[in-house]
Every structure is written in C-alpha cells, then in structure tokens.
Amino acid sequence: MTGTDWPLWEVFVRSRRGLSHTHAGSLHAPDAEMALRNARDLYTRRGEGVSIWVVPSTAITASSPDEKDPFFEPSADKPYRHPTFYDIPEGVQHL
C-alpha cells in the first residue's frame, strides 16, 4: 500500500458561510469518503473551513499553457468589459 496506488483528489474549502469554495490543494486517498477525511485533517485543522468538496483530479479539464495566448490575451486590452464604472456600495466586501 503506497500513496502512488491511490488516486489524486483536488480539495476545495469554503472558509466562511457566504463565500465560495476555493482550491486548497490536493491529496491521495483510496476513495471519496477517505479523501474527505484526509482533507479535513490536512486543510481545516486550524479552523479554516465550514465545508469541503473533494473532486477526483482526473475529472478536471484544465486549459493548457500552450493555449495561453488565444485564451487570455485578447481580453487584456478591452477595459470596457470590466465593471469599473460602478460605485461599490459601502460595506460590500465580497463582490
């Protein structure tokens, strides 16, 4: 039994109610239930979370660094797409 026999899981932790889950890291586990428990021990032991998702790493389709230019470059010079012309009401923190 070694870690390399176990599939890799990506861990998403919601740090507070109202926020969305954010990627915390990855870990090895034999199945989803154990992955959830390992995630609890690895990523929430200092009070970081109220909810955890685990996702098999193989289920994630990622953009490739080779596609960086066609994917992301065209958006850099179009400031009108950014919602920078609004006044954000006072007290809104997580917009």
Partner: protein, 234 residues
C-alpha cells in the same frame, strides 16, 4: 486512584503511541490523521492531569506503577490494522464515556468531556472507516484486521471496570460499546472475537498500576528527555 488520573493517563499514553507513527505511517495523509488524533488526546490529557496536579511532573516523573491507564492503550502499534483495532475499541469506549460525563453537569469532568466528545466522535469515525476498508478489502487486509481484533480483545474487559467517583452507568456503557463495535465489525465482514475479555491475571490491572511489558519501554522513551534535562523548554 483518582478518576482524573485514570482518564488523563488513557489519553496521554494513547497519544504517545499514536505519535510513534510519525515518520512511519503507510502514507503521508494517514500520518497527519494519526498525528491529529494524537494531538487531540494530548490536549485532553493536559486538562485532565492538571485537575490532579502538575501536568509535567505527572507525565514525566511518575514510575510505571503509578500510571492508571488501561492496558489497551499501552499496547504497541503493531501493523496498521493493530493500530486501527486499538482505535476502534478505545474510541468507541471513550465516545460513550465522555458522552455520559458531558451530560452529568455537576461532575468536574463535564466541561472537558463536552469538548472532547466531539473530537473523539471523529476518532471513532476514522477507526470505523478504516475497519470497514481493511475488513472488506483484500484477503490479506481482512486477515490482518481480524488478527488485530482477536489479539486486542482480551484488553477490552478492563474498560468497563468502574472508576471511583465517575458518575457513569457502566452497564449501559458496556452494552452501548458492544452494540457499536459489533455493528462495525459485522459490516466489515469480520467476526467479533468470542473469547474472554480479560486475561487470566490482568483483570482491571492497568487501573491499579499493573502494566504489560511494552509499557516500560514506551515510558522510558517518553520520559527520557525530561528526566535528562529537567524543565527543558523549546
């Protein structure tokens, strides 16, 4: 014997045993899980031993015969299945015990029990999930898990020897424990050992300061630093 020593020593000794897995666990994730459980237990031990006296003196300067932990928690880690069987037997017991103590508000142990029972529920959950996976896993993991349950079974009777001054219904505790453990073992396609729950000469012995051979060696290692460098801090 005081109840604080009995419960505190249980937590301290099991914490040290689990800590021995650091650097040796089968996988990194499991090493962190076991260390987490060890730290929970160490926290409980500190509170409980402080009810009795100076925690460092009690942990590091007592002789073997002055320890009041049950013999189950001092048993060596063995293979991973042994550690899990020990965890299953002990955390199921501790969860029910702390549950009863937490609901008895007048007891001095109610506050620590109320906090610890949540930690211990996770320890039991961890042991339960591993028991299911090892029991219902490969033929080898099943065989090892069964061997571990069998060899530790004779240390389980001592858990239900009444501890003086603890407001606990020991019969209900024993019944609840047996129900929990029987259920997990059955779901794991394993067999609950049928033999006696006490050895011929060991009945209730840990609580009276009689310990098994491996305990002395464990204590020597645990106390070495403090005895060599009294009052050392880092």
């Amino acid at each position: 014997m005081t109840a604080a020593l009995a419960l505190g020593d249980d937590a301290l000794v099991l914490s040290h045993r689990l800590g021995e897995w650091a650097g040796h666990a089968p996988v990194l994730e499991e090493e962190v899980a076991l260390a987490n459980i060890a730290l929970d237990l160490l926290g409980q031990a500190r509170v409980l031993l402080s009810l009795e006296g100076d925690e460092d003196e009690l942990a590091y300067l007592r002789e073997e015969r002055a320890f009041r932990n049950v013999q189950l928690v001092e048993q060596p880690n063995g293979d991973f299945a042994h550690t899990i069987a020990r965890q299953l037997y002990f955390s199921s017991y501790q969860e029910l015990l702390y549950g009863q103590l937490a609901s008895e508000g007048r007891s001095a142990f109610a506050p620590v029990a109320a906090k610890a029972v949540k930690e211990v529920a996770y320890h039991r959950d961890h042991a339960e999930h591993w028991t299911l996976r090892l029991g219902d896993g490969t033929p080898e993991s099943n065989e090892r898990m069964q061997r571990a349950l069998d060899s530790l079974w004779r240390y389980t009777g001592e858990l239900f020897e009444p501890v003086e001054a603890l407001p606990v219904d020991w019969t209900a505790l024993r019944d609840g424990w047996l129900t929990t453990v029987t259920d997990v073992v059955a779901r794991a396609t394993l067999t609950l050992p049928g033999g006696p729950q006490v050895g011929a000469w060991t009945a209730g012995a840990g609580r009276q300061g009689i310990h098994t051979e491996p305990f002395g060696r464990m204590l020597a290692e645990m106390q070495h630093l403090h005895r060599s460098h009294p009052g050392a801090t880092w």
